[in-house]
Assembly symmetry: C2
Homo-oligomer: 189 residues x 2
């Protein structure tokens, strides 16, 4: 095992995430990230030439990871009118703890250009695109999705402390509401 000579961007992203999560957005500086990653500020700026690019990479990695999990979980629900919603709920159920991490990334990104939120924007557009307004199941599915997002944001922004039990109860409620509506929806032609 030879001594490492090149900086691994993944490790830098991990360090950046730690800094945000553990010390807050205020202390999320390039210097702090470099220190945490055990590299110099110059070395960090060689990998990510600007702070914006670092934030974008953080956000992108997080969204990709979550998105992939949702896709994977959705496969089990090909019979459902909204497999992605089902996969999303299952993924949210298994994510629990890492919610704070993602939230921190999001907040860090918010401070800078809004265009940086593009990855997250695309995800939500895809999610909301699956619901139509012309069936009860579509409308209630959308409500279920938005309720989970609402709880996520309230929790992420520190506006509502929520125990693990409360979080799971909410996910169950959302799923139940959707399933109730689905049961009432007649089969399509």
């Amino acid at each position: 095992m030879t001594r490492k000579k090149t900086i691994d961007p993944e490790l830098v992203l991990n360090a950046a995430e730690s800094v945000v999560v553990e010390t807050g957005v205020q202390n999320f500086t390039m210097e702090a990230v470099a220190k945490r990653a055990g590299i110099s500020k110059g070395g960090l700026l060689y990998i990510f030439p600007t702070k914006d690019q670092l934030i974008l990479a953080m956000l992108d990695r997080e969204v990709s990871r979550f998105s992939a999990e949702v896709s994977l979980s959705s496969e089990a629900y090909s019979g459902d009118p909204h497999p992605t919603l089902r996969g999303y709920i299952d993924t949210a159920r298994s994510e629990d703890v890492s919610i704070a991490d993602k939230a921190a990334n999001l907040m860090a990104a918010l401070i800078h250009a809004p265009t940086m939120l593009e990855p997250a924007r695309l995800f939500h557009i895809k999610m909301l695109g699956q619901f139509d307004s012309y069936s009860l199941e579509g409308r209630r599915g959308r409500l279920a999705y938005l309720a989970i997002e609402g709880a996520f944001f309230l929790r992420a922004l520190g506006l509502k402390t929520m125990t693990e039990e409360e979080w799971l109860e909410l996910l169950t409620d959302a799923l139940d509401m959707y399933l109730d509506a689905r049961a009432l929806t007649p089969n399509r032609p």
Copy 2:
């Protein structure tokens, strides 16, 4: 009508809000606020000694205003198990345009100390406190509230563009879902 000699804090808050909403959080500086308010930087710092205190005042005013409207609207629903939810939905319906304003305040506050979100935190605790988990109406009421919050955040953060029609449709859906559940809930003893 005499020439004004003292600075009106309300006008300063208006100016601060304009700056955030129109030019974005990045350009939300004390200097920009002072310029917009037509006063000097020194004068501004006499009224609000730190930027944090200015942000807190902005947020506080916004939450108070919204909260008061909710209370007022709620009075019409004393027969409902969740009058505050009903008032909240009505208020959200009439707010529409000013959503961006409040969101901007929120985001500006987020950048700084999380303790600053206290006014908003209290509001959400009060709202969520009215729902119990032991009745369908309580659980669905909570979902309705969270769905509206979710849509609000997605919209506020620029993660989902939403037309006025879509917004109203969502509010209608949330209300309908709650009312459906209420209709199914047997009268309490």
